[in-house]
């Protein structure tokens, strides 16, 4: 089994993908690299002293154990020369030497990356969920980073719609980070997969995350940035996407919202403006029905107070006090109306006594 050696070579930390590639090509195979004598290592011209030391140490590792671990954890291994290696990734600058993944890998369909803030507003949350669900239903693969906020909402939306979705991690695929996403992590493995360029057991180091962003954009045909602060990691993904020739869409937001600053800047710099799922799908030439039509059936006639309250609310949280002041009703009335709307699923209480509109009527 020569794959054992391939996994060993791919799993060497502190040795870059390019060097690994050079070594492998120069010596013919990973097995040759493993069997190389120490005196020979010294003669390899493109390795630095450090890298030579690393190689010497790594050669002492138990290859069988590495392999067993991969099997135990049901992790699949996909090196760059494999014919299954995603074509889209091959095109990018510095593609990962190898990919590790759990679940299945099927990137044939059109795929969209949805990225955004880790602490989004209800507005961003709502749009991300809606878009992910619509695209998932239309058979589009959703790629994101399984981070808090928009990322996890995008995955959730795709899962709700029964679509394929992939999470690109900044750690080994056997580690679920952040920990509270265990649910999404296990669902992703069932309906898509989690994917990483880092060997198993790699901890989520800070530096890994910007690097994994190139894989998110690399695996996609378009990237949709939902909400981003001025200096957000999502903008790195957008930059990478542009470098890799992907389409970038950004969700416009109020100029007063710091969480929309990054997106608005992107639009100014020439990114596509996101106006609706329909338009996005049209531009991407994706077929699929999204308007389910029952929104019209659901149209309810609201009572006067409820309608008054409804018209006072928007996607940005309003608190009880403001609503009382604007509507000039007393608190009991306002609370009654809000509960009414909340029960109808039109309004959501996002923090105690802060309300947002989540559905248009």
């Amino acid at each position: 089994m020569s794959e054992e050696y391939e996994i060993w070579l791919a799993g060497i930390r502190h040795l870059g993908g390019k060097k690994k590639k050079l070594l492998r090509e120069k010596l013919g195979s990973a097995r040759e690299v493993y069997n190389i004598e120490e005196t020979q290592i010294e003669k390899v011209p493109f390795l630095t002293e450090n890298e030579k030391e690393v190689l010497k140490i790594e050669k002492k590792r138990d290859i069988k154990r590495i392999n067993e671990e991969m099997n135990e954890k049901e992790i699949n291994f996909l090196p760059y020369y494999s014919k299954n290696y995603p074509k889209k990734l091959k095109e990018i600058y510095s593609p990962p030497y190898a990919l590790y993944y759990k679940g299945s890998l099927d990137l044939e369909a059109v795929s969209v990356g949805i990225v955004g803030s880790r602490a989004p507003t209800p507005y961003g949350e709502g749009v991300a969920l809606e878009v992910a669900e619509a695209l998932g239903k239309a058979g589009v693969t959703i790629v994101s980073g399984m981070a808090r906020g928009i990322d996890s909402i995008a995955h959730r939306g795709a899962l709700n719609a029964g679509g394929l979705t992939y999470g690109i991690l900044g750690c080994g695929v056997d580690i679920c980070y952040p920990r509270e996403h265990r649910g999404i992590y296990s669902d992703l493995i069932k309906c898509g997969g989690v994917l990483s360029e880092y060997p198993p057991n790699t901890k989520p180091f800070k530096s890994h995350f910007p690097a994994r962003n190139r894989i998110i954009s690399g695996l996609c045909d378009s990237v949709f940035v939902v909400e981003a602060r001025k200096r957000s990691g999502s903008l790195i993904t957008a930059d990478m996407a542009l470098e890799q020739g992907r389409e970038v869409y950004a969700l416009p937001g109020p100029i007063t919202s710091p969480l929309s600053e990054g997106c608005n800047n992107l639009i100014q710099e020439g990114a596509n403006i996101f106006l609706s799922v329909e338009k996005l799908m049209e531009e991407m030439k994706i077929n699929g029905k999204i308007s389910d039509g029952n929104s019209k059936q659901n149209k309810k006639t609201l009572e006067r107070t409820e309608f008054l309250l409804y018209s006072c609310l928007d996607f940005f949280p309003k608190n009880l006090e403001e609503l009382v002041k604007v509507t000039k009703l007393d608190i009991g009335e306002v609370l009654k109306g809000l509960i009414e709307l909340e029960l109808e699923g039109i309004v959501k209480e996002i923090s105690k006594n802060y309300y947002v509109k989540i559905k248009e009527i």
Partner: protein, 498 residues
Amino acid sequence: MAFGKVLSACIDGMQVHLVQVEVDISNGLPLFEIIGCLSSEVKEATKRVRTALRNTGIYMPAKHVVANLSPGTIRKRGSSFDLPVAIGILQAMEQVKKEEKTLYAGELSLDGKVNGIPGILSIVMEGKKKGIKKYVIPSENYREAALVKGVEIVPVEFLSEIIMENTPRLKTGRERKIKGNTRKSTVDFGEIKGQEGAKRAMEIAVSGGHNILMIGPPGSGKTLISRGVPGILPPMNQEEMLEVTKIYSLAKLINPMAPLIQERPFRKVHHNVTKAGLIGGGMTPSPGEITLSHKGVLFLDELSEFKRGVLEALREPMDDRSISILRRQTVYHFPAEFILVGACNPCPCGYYPDVERCSCNAYEREQYQARISKPLLDRIDLCIETPKITFEEIQSEKQAESSKDIQERVVKTRKIQERRFEKENIGVNGEMNISQIKKYINLQPEDKPLMEKAFLRLGLTARSYHKVLKVARTIADMEGQKEVESRHLKEALGYRIR
């Protein structure tokens, strides 16, 4: 016969035990000894008594003097036995006459002065129950003891007074009108601008005896509103005043010149408080903050900063409305009927959901909120947000409703509840248990689907469902409505804890 017998009392937690002090003087080696399950401060009484007597001009005979405090099984603490022991010796020396049904309590100074002691009110109240008519007590405690009517209170300032008079009696001119302790609450609700929601919720909480949590950014007025709470609490009746004064007397927290506590207690507790400080404790348990807020309000500011264990300890007393502490095979009971008012920020930085200022993510917020234990939140009926105050509100000249007007309504609502719970052992809606909720809250048939929908959609639990019902009952009572209607339920739903 060189024998003296005096009645006194000792305090054990909140309980008062009557104690017989017997003094015997016999021939033998000169010795002065007190026996009868004493703690060290009672043992020290020998030195104080001997010196105080000498400085009053009485020399103890060089004989074998034994004082026994019976019953011998109860631990005696405190310095209140100085006076009865001294009187016992004087009786045995035939310096003063024996008196039946008279209780002595007080601490002696070395110069023969009688010093005040804590808990005199409890002692006199218990003594009255046992049929004791006369009480000789330190003059410092006179006003406190005189709160009990129908008994004779004899204040003494110096030991010599008793000896000179031979038998102590009330000096004329001593009795003055007893002033109450009138602590005015510092904030009137009329001065608080805006915050209508919080004020309304506070009124509901106070009306129905519900625990309440305020969530809001720093500086939004959570503490200010809580300071206004004492002003809207219904006044206490005589019985309640005495009950509270008893506790404060034990905790040495009363003003001897104006001992009666007339206003409901309002205790603001810092988040550094220990478990013993909050619920009571110590070697011999002394009342903690929850007992000091008996019949009143316990205010916990920055709820999420409290140590977890400390908050967890609140669970039992909040259910039982009292706390039992076990020390040395004795269970001490302290009452703890209070309304809990909590305040906390919505997230670590305090500004969520104001995205311009808040940089906390969902995870941090969750972690922050998880610091307050769920079981404690389960015992809080109402939750309200206090938004930041706008400039117009600060500037506005408009006077809001004054605390006095609100208080009047609260009293009215409380009366309705009293009438309802006449046959129950509770007084307010907040104290209802599940069977009482079933008995006193009849949902209208058309409201059942509403509550079912709320149960499913808003993720209510069985406990929070019952809390909503209780709060709705109070809102209906505030309107004077007999039955809980759907608008009451909906408003109550708006105050639920998320």
